[in-house]
Amino acid sequence: MILSIASGKGGTGKTTVAVNMALSLKDVQLLDCDVEEPNVHLLLHPEINEEKPVYVSTPQVNEELCDHCGKCSEFCEFNALFVTPEKVLFFTELCHSCGGCLLVCPKNAITEKNLKIGEIKMGVAEGVELVYGELNVGEPMSVPVIKDVKKQIKSSKTVIIDSPPGASCPVIESVHGSDYCLLVSEPTPFGLHDLRIMIQVLEGLNIPFGVIINRAGIGDRKIYDFCEEKGVPILLEIPFQRKIAELYSRGIPFVVEMPEWRREFRLLMDDIKGV
């Protein structure tokens, strides 16, 4: 079972849900796909036993073979190559590593080299297997790092994926292929607005989903009305409590100090499996 956790809006409690759920279930592999700002390890303090670099392929032009015909730059949909009569200029940050420039070069003047853009780390904490990625600061493309994190999926386990915020490519890459997605939101206008965007994404991807309302009690009731009208199940409410917020601020998963919540997360998982 692969369960992803997403939200649209940032800071609604994705990581809180992912970590507390992982600690409440057995035989869990937890993947932190928010590789721009990974936070799961800050709550779990895993012992890291393996690190792997993440590379992307970027073109390298052999100026001795190149006759500056411009076919590579004409081909490149991302404008990563610019050919002058004397030189080929390459803009790494625009390259998607599709390999097309190599294919179209009539002089075979282009080869590829690996560029390290981040790394993935693997470890264990409290019986939870953790994999997380870290994009190097200054690198724009997080998707290749997310892909490498997801290559570590062990489908025999209960896999929980913590996704990045937003609703574009890094989120798609994170939730793609999951059996179910939990959308964590909060009962505020921003929370509802961004929840609606994520629902459209999941409907497009054909992934079944349910909602967790975090910080229940703040804001208004519109998110409840919306879910009822749309037939979207609200699977769990986590109340706004200063204690939960303070524990989070110190990097402590709340089930550690409020063990009664472990049962709630186990029941939540049963609900999801029932769907």
């Binding site: 590593s97 724009p140 997080s142 915020p165 490519c169 890094p170 459209q200 991807l205």
Partner: protein
Amino acid sequence: MKQITILSGKGGTGKTTITASFAVLAHDIVMADCDVDAPDLHMLLHPQIMKTQEFKGPKLAVIDRTKCTECGLCKNSCRFDAIDDSLQIDPFSCEGCGVCVVVCPEEAISLQERISGYAFISKTKYGTMSHARLNPGEANSGKLVTLVRHNARQVAEKENRELILIDGPPGIGCPVIASISGVNAGLVITEPTVSGIHDLERALQLLRHFNISSFVCVNMYDINKENTKRIIGFCEKNGAEIAGTIPFDPLVTKAMVAGKTVVEYAPRSAVSHEIKVIWKEILSALKGNE
């Protein structure tokens, strides 16, 4: 013309709440909402759209079934696993690179343009706003951010405005880089949580990477005062200026529910007072840079 981006690394720390309040305090600026995946600024500033522009994102490969001989070369050449065994193209995975077009011996594949979102120029009570909406699940939000910023600059020139206020997306990747490239300063909104601190450090590294001067605001500072002290200490050591601290107050959520900025909803609150202090601080620092 000056530009400042509000960013955070971690989502949900209060970027939009604070940006919207700045917009009210500033009067004579242009606003740009660069969180194009999940834009929220419009819910507080209530823009009236004056101009809509289509945004063409990455293209999409389309296979002409009448020409396809199912040789599978396209599938084997695609590095994005966007073509499955039955040679169907997954529009969510296709990046529109055109490799399949080149390798197809039957010339059965072409790239088609797709509309990935819309950019808007709008009037608000507080000035002109440039914003956008990426269609859910689309790629290339960085390119749309660049368009939003281009539009904001054009408006600022036309209206003779001296400052563009940019609400950035969370994270540190492509759309964030597009939101900060070439700006005069970045204001990082953080919160005194372990995650907030970690994400602040990476956001500050990003600003340094691009040689942009950085300011930090600790929002909800009283949730954990010890962590707030750590943040202030860290900023002092790393050359980031603390622009101010804002207390936690449920009023902020109430203002959001009312669809108002907090400085309008509760002008006498401590939160509004601090936001005003921070805005003054930022303005004088930006002027001092001249």
